[in-house]
Subunit: 282 residues, 2 copies
């Protein structure tokens, strides 16, 4: 099953557009956990076990692992999700980007070593930097378009022929890079007007949407701006607001409650919400 | 000593603008070496020992390590250079780029975990994605500007207010991001006209120049386009043409010969070449 099929299946199964971002920050770990690389897998496992029926994807952020030499824990985390919840796609957030031969190595890192279903990449270097990823037709290639941070405007908003660069990026990806129908775009939750414009340019291409929760993006505005006609099209990612909702031994339950709340808030604004088929009131 | 001071010192000591890119590709390793992660450190060590008096920097490309789970070998390689040739700066080629909190983790990866003197990053996400790197005043922050690959034109050449995006990027970095005087730019060897224009915009800011050797950039044209008034300003990186110059047991000697040839070719076109003080005819 390709990434896109797996994603559509997950949207339906869990009636959820929520993606939990796995950003294991030792400095914010629950008090009772040790502050070392080994604890990272245990932390992720408990978060995944507590939220798997409420999410359409998990998104481990590789920087949080590589800063503390926790490559093994990243492998274990993805392996655990694939073994126990094989219907949930894993997006490796790595934002890689380099020329052909090096990009091939990065694709090997994401897809072969870590076994991710999808990976985020940076489009600044152009088509030949994306191609070694794009040719993996069964994987999702998630390209930065309009990011959620304040500095996004520095480059992404510069105007070329009457339209900002991020619109050119969106069109280029939709028209030229998406031959395998495996592209997605990163569009920040903090910019609903820009999101609506991008949606009008790229059809049903899914968006990975960071910036709700800690970064303060407005859920109603983003869902209305970004959803497709069937009420999907969005992978709405929240990391810190879920992972660190609690700081005690009950942190996984607190993460579940926060995930459920976000899922239900999102679903209020979906134009054709699916019936709740997963029995998630446990 | 800051990265920039270390670089200036290395330019002078070795009378060289050459940077050897450490892209250890197991598939291209000399026949007698084993094709596993452990062999990577041995390979790098021999290349470094054979070229240290001919280079101004080493540039390990992290993708070649992470694709084969060779993080430990990357640590060993940088540690070996720092211990044995402490005057040669190490640029970690990683092209990272993400929002603030994640960028901090990437800076920790590059500077604390691996101990690199400098790191390459991608400017697409704007100033707040660069800031967690820039604040390390003693390290070099090498930002993508005009890359050497053919796809570079897809985004970097789009015209904003009469000038291509890469010129806006160069100016923004020179005027706003360089408060700590620790920025450098990636400018591909394959575009000497663009390089000359960028040089006119950013003063003496050093350029990291990939694209000679395997990618075919013309040495005379790039040196004349990019050097500063004192005949420096360039870190000219070659990887595959040096690393895989030989495929037998004498691969390190072949790498040395190729490095010497590139250094001397470059020096022919420098406007104020330094005298050869390193005695490199051994």
């Amino acid at each position: 099953m390709s990434f896109i099929e797996k994603l559509k299946d997950a949207w339906k199964r869990t009636n959820s557009l929520v993606c939990v971002g796995l950003d294991p920050d030792l400095a914010r770990f629950p008090r009772h956990l040790e502050k070392n690389a080994e604890a990272i897998f245990r932390f992720n496992k408990e978060i995944v076990d507590a939220t798997h029926d409420l999410v359409c994807a998990y998104k481990p952020q590789i920087a949080y692992f590589s800063a503390v030499s926790a490559e093994r824990q990243l492998e274990q985390t993805i392996e655990y999700i694939r073994s126990n919840y094989p219907h949930i796609p894993v997006i490796l957030d790595a934002k890689r980007g380099d020329i052909g031969s090096t990009a091939e190595m990065y694709a090997t890192e994401a897809f072969s070593r870590y076994g991710a279903d999808a990976v985020t990449i940076n489009p600044y270097m152009g088509h030949d930097s994306a191609e070694p990823f794009l040719r993996h037709a069964d994987r999702g290639i998630v390209l930065l378009c309009r990011t959620s941070n304040s500095g996004a405007s520095d480059l992404q908003d510069l105007v070329v022929d009457g339209a900002p660069i991020y619109e050119h990026v969106a069109k280029m990806i939709a028209e030229k890079w998406n031959a395998n129908r495996n592209c997605l775009l990163v569009v920040g939750a903090t910019w609903p007007a820009q999101m609506a414009k991008i949606r009008s340019l790229v059809g049903d291409m899914p968006f990975l949407v960071p910036g709700v929760g800690a970064q303060g993006g407005d859920v109603e505005a983003l869902v209305k701006a970004g959803q497709t006609a069937d009420g999907t099209g969005l992978i709405i990612s929240s990391s810190r607001a879920i992972l660190y909702a609690g700081s005690g031994v009950d942190y996984a339950a607190a993460a579940r409650a926060e995930t459920l709340k976000l899922r239900d808030t999102i679903n209020k604004f979906r134009c054709a919400p699916q019936p709740d088929i997963a029995g998630t009131d446990s």
